[in-house]
Symmetry: C2
Subunit: 225 residues, 2 copies
DNA sequence: CGCCTATTTGACGCAAGTCAAGGGAGGTGG
DNA sequence: CCACCTCCCTTGACTTGCGTCAAATAGGCG
């Protein structure tokens, strides 16, 4: 994204919201009035199912656009803060104006939509074709890379704000089985994970266990401070 | 999509390709030179895995854009014809020109990207949180609706060009289990499926078994003849 | 008619789900 | 400063949905 576009995007912001962990940012079924950009913290998109279960469909780090769509339509997911989070909002009229004046911003947002579709596609491959062990390893690889890219993590260790139940809801397995597979990853000295902090011990080993290829993670639109 | 945009899009077409069933339209890892729009037939996007397995990530019907992305990047999937198919191509320079002259075409394509992301999201929910029975029912509901919307099916019956192995690769289960679940759907008198032709007997019953809500299927960009 | 591919069926094994109970760790209030 | 509560993690025992292997059957086509 060009510097001029970034400035234009920042100039179009019509409000900033602050959310506590677990708080709902946007409800499933409601129609979004504009787009939301995550500034600080971690958020997630989750589908609530009829039987009480839920599927986590995406995680967002600072710089990501939540539910990036060109037109207003009832949202198919609930957006929640995972950690304390702040979210910039660009209202629908402001967005229309912005897209009209700066067509390249539209392209950048389109690219952002495509980027999230690519990430979701990897999740689909992972959930569809890999066993729980590889799925968990893959998930952790992606998290650690995206957290690092967004400045949430340093080289040493990475914050990990998800419970094992959350991981289970993302991977489509049970939380008990997440625990079993985490034990295994720990036992194989691939990583350490405790008290909300992740440390990858054997980088290559973990990538190999996951069959992980990071090329699908492009650059986020990088809205900046 | 506006009529003017549709005309502009059609005018930008730089070539049409014809493909036999099973033939590869675009190879995984190659960088697309422009965008591809399916005119006739059915196509699919599939990820080839290292262990010989594969995951079908999308099905395309006439009017769909294959792998709709704003920028050229190595494709993460292989695109294959399922039936005999013809594909219109708009080369990268022609696309750039088109987007410059008709910004609203860009918005339509962006919407198409978002639409396919929404479909993929439903697949992720289905694969992640539903059992094989509901997954299969859901898949068949979607197929039949999309085929009908694109004019491939009439009210009576619907062409069904996929083998049970194909379904297995789409749903992330084994082909033997697809067979078992199909037997069950037949036994419950919800549908009939034989010799490449699908007939839904109990519409409501099938929707209920699948937990299917069709609202995620928006309109395709509808390029027309 | 014979080949090839897709479907069907059965037997068996395993990865993962479910249920249930116990143990920490942090937070809060007395 | 301790007691208690509430999440979350951990473990074990048992169950089951689905995978795998293998063989038989059925169509479609040259």
């Amino acid at each position: 994204m060009e510097a001029a576009d970034r400035i234009a995007l920042r100039g179009a912001i019509t409000g900033v919201g602050h959310f506590a962990p677990g708080e709902c940012i946007h409800e499933q079924g409601d129609t979004p009035q504009g787009i939301l950009i995550l500034y600080e913290g971690v958020a997630r998109a989750v589908r609530i199912l009829g039987d009480g279960g839920q599927q986590i469909l995406a995680l967002f780090v600072p710089g990501d656009v939540l539910d990036c769509q060109p037109v207003a339509a009832p949202s198919a997911v609930r957006l929640c803060a995972v950690t304390v989070a702040s979210v910039a909002k660009i209202s629908r009229p402001a967005l229309d104006e912005l897209l009209r004046k700066y067509p390249s911003v539209g392209h950048a947002l389109w690219r952002e939509t495509a980027r999230h579709a690519a990430i979701q596609q990897e999740w689909l491959v992972s959930v569809g074709r890999q066993n729980a062990y590889a799925r968990l390893a893959h998930f952790i690889c992606e998290i650690s890379l995206r957290f690092r890219a967004s400045g949430l993590a340093d080289a040493e260790s990475c914050p990990f704000p998800l419970t094992q139940c959350d991981i289970a809801d993302a991977l489509g397995i049970s939380s008990v089985h997440v625990n079993r597979m985490l034990q295994r990853l720990r036992g194989e000295r691939l990583l350490a994970l405790s008290r909300g902090s992740l440390h990858i011990i054997d980088h290559d080993g973990l990538y190999r266990a996951a069959g992980f290829d990071p090329s699908y993670l492009g650059d986020s639109i990088n809205v900046g401070e």
